[in-house]
Amino acid sequence: MANQDIVIIGGGPAGIEAAKGIADLGYKAILVEKRDRLGGNPDEQQYAALTPDLRDTEEALEEMIAPLRDNPNIEVKYNTLVTGAEGALGDFTLKAVSMGKEIDIKAGAVIISTGFQHFDPGRETQKYGYYEHDDVLTLTDAEKMLKAHNFVRPSNGEKPKRICFIQCVGSRDRQIGNEYCSKVCCGISSKQAIEVRQQVPDCKVYIFYIDMRMYGYWENEIYWPAQEQHKVNYIKGMATEIVKKGDKLLVKGEDTTLRRPMEVEMDMVILAVGMEPSEGTKQMASIFGIKQNKYNFLETTGGPLDTVSTNVPGVFAAGACTGPADLEDSVSAGGLAAMKAIASVRKAEMATA
């Protein structure tokens, strides 16, 4: 008889939604999480508010996680790292290290939801001086400060008077190797710009961009309010480098609609870093033999028609481990993966019966 339990690797938004869906459908979900808490990047990186609705992250995550607690159909294994896998659809045995002990986890199908990591702006080029200038930050750094309601210049602890965001850092870049658009950074920068304007009303905020990619409702829910109600200034043109000038940062680039060079002083610069596959995603690819695309994200088989199936029968992938994804994408894919995983073990069971 085929095993009908589903193991989910990674307890971020996609994994949480998958576990909940499986349990709701009456199957058993085993959620494996390497940390001692659920919530993935939004929790680990201490996001202040979610995009696009600026909802408090803790509150939203709590809403997602609450149905998992004391749920007889869900077992969460914290501090657990999957190290190997054997078997096939209907009969997988996963090797794992859980709380320092080696264990086996048996399941009929596997959902991988190991997510992404933020691009490290010092990784390949130093043009923005992320590791040199205290006041050059990433979206994730800014998120933590906004969450703490302590948005100040790291160099001197003072509230900034002028800040800018630089878009597309680590994305859309052949030299870095990340040719794709990371999809969420335009929205997150705009969301943070709104939060900065709310927390430090005297601070002028500028966003330097190649083109603003505010798809769907993000246009009217974030981009327009940022400009119209919160007076965020969008300047078309990328900043190429940052140099120190006294205690300020001189941001150099070209203002493309004016066709003139710009050299503007800023108190802080926030780099809109994109997404890359997490270490966990790359490890799971190797453990399960899942095909990766040229950017090392997990490759799903159906293009836009099937966003969760992989080349390995019984192994599915959901969320940002398959490519840049926002919260909506991740949650939607989590639900879809739950459905497809259950369908696969049911079919396997019928085949053996």
């Binding site: 002028k204 327009w224 119209e228 007076k231 969008y234 300047i235 078309k236 050299e263």
Partner: protein
């Protein structure tokens, strides 16, 4: 920082300085090259005004620029460009850019963000007027209006003098002392300007022949002040609106007919804010359905092209009535200009432009009216038909200045009907 890095050399393809055309070698000038700051104080100042909010909404899609009539004639203008200048520290309240907009609403028609220059310009101009920063010519028109009740500076007592020149008896409300169906709001240019009066007397004849029960206010009528309002004189507008509304309240009538689309705009959209709510129609809207009742004996044999007034078309949605009238005149062949109806090109007279021709000459390569007349000539038309009292004089001047005298006549639609009546 060295001077070379800091500044850039600009060389124009052609430049005319004080009437002398300078070749590229001679018109080199220096401009600051590097953008060192985005001082948005100027933008915030506009956006903080009631009515100015939408200035800050521009996302630089640039759709407004090709349709801006001022930009078309080399004015380097349009909402997108104003936004960028404001983002670089321009103070619109004291800048010449404040007075170039004719409030023609062609930008608003195409703007996905609804950046509304029709509200922004009057709001900023009102502040400039209060600070006394107004071009002299415009100030004179304001003062004339304040002193004489009309921007031309004519005596209020002479406002009904045209009645004497009319072929027919024109009922004046305070004389006939009875209720009428239609109160005809004549407005200043139709009452005073010699070419305006040609159309006004023609219209009186048409009204009489049609047996329309109407009356005019004569010397009791005052300027509607819509263009003064759009040019920043909100105070003057309110004062005159209240006076006109008071005069209207003395008489009984079913609806108001205006000769002037600008008056139509004021009475229809602005007077209700001061308690004056009426059914208001433009004269073309009123006459269009009545044309079959007229016995038009004269065949005109004109090829006619029609200029849509901004304040009749884009601002008040009437495109069909003037065309219907023209098509019902025997012998008239109507031909359209490329820019017609919603896309119509502004004559330059709206939003205070009527009183800023000298000022504008320093900022554009040709007048808007000249640009429009050239387009009319290109259609091969004999007659440029109009139905806004600003236009006859503006276009007749432009016909002369563009060397098209004898090729194109400018006539009000009322004059054409009158001509066909024989």
């Amino acid at each position: 920082m060295s001077k070379i890095e800091k500044e850039r050399i600009i060389e124009k393809e052609s430049a005319v300085v004080q009437g002398i055309e300078l070749t590229a070698d001679w018109n080199r000038m220096f401009e600051q090259r590097v953008v060192f700051d985005y001082d948005t104080t100027g933008l915030d100042k506009v956006a903080d005004l009631a009515g100015g909010e939408s200035m800050a909404w521009c996302y630089q899609c640039t759709q407004c620029i090709p349709v801006c009539p001022v930009n078309t004639v080399g004015g380097e203008y349009g909402p997108r460009k104003i936004f960028r200048k404001l983002q670089q520290g321009m103070d619109l309240f004291t800048h010449d850019d404040l007075w170039k907009c004719t409030t023609c609403a062609n930008c608003l028609r195409v703007c996905p963000k609804v950046v509304n220059m029709i509200e922004i310009m009057p709001a900023v101009r009102e502040e400039a007027v209060l600070d006394g920063n107004v071009p002299d010519e415009l100030q004179e028109a304001f003062e004339n209006t304040f002193e004489y009740g009309n921007p031309l500076g004519e005596s209020q007592r002479k406002r009904a003098d045209w009645v004497k020149d009319a072929e027919v008896e024109v009922p004046v409300m305070k004389e006939i002392k009875r209720e009428v169906d239609v109160l005809w709001f004549v407005e200043c240019y139709p009452a005073y300007h010699h070419r305006g009066k040609d159309a006004t007397t023609a219209l009186a004849k048409i009204m009489n022949v049609l047996g329309i029960d109407y009356g005019v206010l004569g010397t009791e009528e005052k300027c509607s002040c819509d263009s003064q309002r759009l040019a920043g004189e909100q105070g003057l507008f309110e004062e005159f609106a209240e006076e006109n509304i008071k005069t209207f309240s003395k008489y009984k009538f079913n609806k108001i007919m205006t000769t002037d689309p600008h008056a139509l705009n004021a009475l229809k959209k602005e007077y209700p804010k001061f308690g004056g709510e009426y059914e208001v129609v433009h004269y073309t809207t009123m006459l269009a359905p009545l044309m079959e009742k007229l016995d038009l004996k004269n065949k005109l044999n004109y090829k006619v092209t029609f200029h849509d007034p901004c304040y009749l078309g884009r601002h008040n949605g009437e495109y069909e009535a003037p065309r219907k009238i023209l098509e019902s005149i025997p012998g008239v062949e109507l031909t359209e200009m490329g820019r017609c109806k919603e896309q119509s090109y502004c004559c330059g007279g709206g939003g205070g432009g009527m009183w800023l021709d000298g000022f504008m000459a320093d900022h554009v390569q040709e007048r808007l009216s000249e640009n429009r007349v050239k387009e009319a000539v290109e259609t091969g038309a004999d007659v440029l038909a109009v139905c806004c009292p600003y236009e006859v004089s503006r276009f007749e001047d432009a016909v002369k200045s563009t060397g098209n005298e004898g090729k194109l006549l400018v006539k009000d639609i009322a004059e054409l009907i009158r001509e066909a009546m024989g």
